[in-house]
Symmetry: C2
Subunit: 233 residues, 2 copies
């Protein structure tokens, strides 16, 4: 199928978090027409989906699709099953955290590839990061390269129309502070984003889960103020 405009198109995974928002900003800064995909995989909170909608609108995405996929039926993660989200644990552990979702990035990239084929995009953007998520196998360069090789033989566009899919993970080697600096330089308003795994009834980020703590530390190291308030830990 054909792109909707003459501009090269990208398919961008957008969770509404800090990383994927920065990725969208990078894709837009390259002049790409961005088709965003948010996968609602049974997260406990809808705040993240609302953030994705705000971010897609703010960046002038060519389209934004939200696909519902209930990974709770498969289970295996604190983010999709009835396993407690850990609080106050040591960051920087190298083991796989319980928030790991089985085959998560494989599933997300598969859906993104389907979208790319439909909208005629050849660039697949994902906020995979090998620094903060070193324990996740599907955040490593070898995984992303293997997916690119799969994409080359998986689709009609790839095999009949010569589409060459590229998996782009521009944050792969960046720490959180570097990601934030990069986004701020591109004018990202991080007040639109959402990171917390476990917000309180007051709607505030908890300030204690891994995601909140990584975010707080990232802003501190970047010497910037987070426009999004967190509950005091």
């Amino acid at each position: 199928m054909q792109p909707m405009t003459d501009r090269p198109a990208a398919a961008v995974l957008l969770s509404g978090g800090l990383d994927s928002t920065t990725v969208l900003a990078i894709a837009r800064s390259e002049g790409l027409e961005c088709h965003c995909l948010t996968v609602d995989y049974g997260q406990r909170h809808r705040i993240e989906l609302d953030a994705a909608r705000r971010v897609a609108a703010a960046f002038g995405a060519a389209s934004h699709r939200i696909v519902a996929l209930d990974l709770r039926a498969i289970g295996g993660s604190a983010l999709t099953a009835d396993i407690a989200v850990p609080k106050e644990r040591e960051l920087d552990r190298r083991e796989v955290p319980v928030t790991y979702v089985p085959a998560r990035n494989t599933v997300l990239l598969a859906l993104l590839l389907g979208l790319a084929e439909v909208v005629g995009a050849e660039e697949l953007f994902i906020g995979a990061n090998a620094v903060d998520y070193s324990g996740y196998p599907d955040c490593r360069p070898a995984f992303l390269a293997a997916f690119e090789r799969l994409a080359a033989v998986a689709t009609v566009a790839g095999t009949e129309h010569g589409a060459r899919y590229r998996v782009r993970a521009p944050l792969l080697e960046l720490g959180k502070a570097d990601i934030i600096r990069r986004g701020l330089a591109l004018g990202v308003d991080y007040g639109l984003t959402w990171s917390c795994y476990d917000p309180g009834p007051d709607g505030l980020a908890c300030g204690r889960c891994d995601s909140c703590r990584l975010r707080r530390r990232g802003f501190a190291e970047a010497g910037a103020r987070d426009p999004l308030p967190q509950a005091r830990g």
Copy 2:
């Protein structure tokens, strides 16, 4: 994670159709503990899901999960979008039919890999077929091999526990009649299955869509009677 029993385990994609039911019969005949996955990707009819439930129960599956994934949000196929299902067209066309779902088998295998990791299965069974579906890029051996290479680096089990995922597509080179013969030899009751893309209000298979016609021709060539009635074309 570990298998629930000492028997080797398999994760089996089960649509409730003729092919995937035969695949489940083959996996069971190898003595594998079978964990079935049915993906409800916005099909127009629930009859197929009911068939999957019947088949999983009939074959004593160790578990059966139905995962809802609304691919209509991505679109691009007569099976998931508002595109008419073709009737009475010439079979054996080599082009990609409008019933092609973008990146379908990539998405299905990704979900199956997630299940395999959760239940401790290393064999991934899929009813991909390169004979009747020669126009689908994601039914070819090169695609299945590329997915196997991806799986090797995509999961915790693969990278830390030495799990070696194998993609098994036992129907890959079989025509429909051969598939039916194979299933009948294994005692499959094809009356439990469902194939039609477009059943009538009477609940009967239409007898005219590609899937009905392939099925009818397969039973005829196998010299067997289909226990499931079709409307007269």
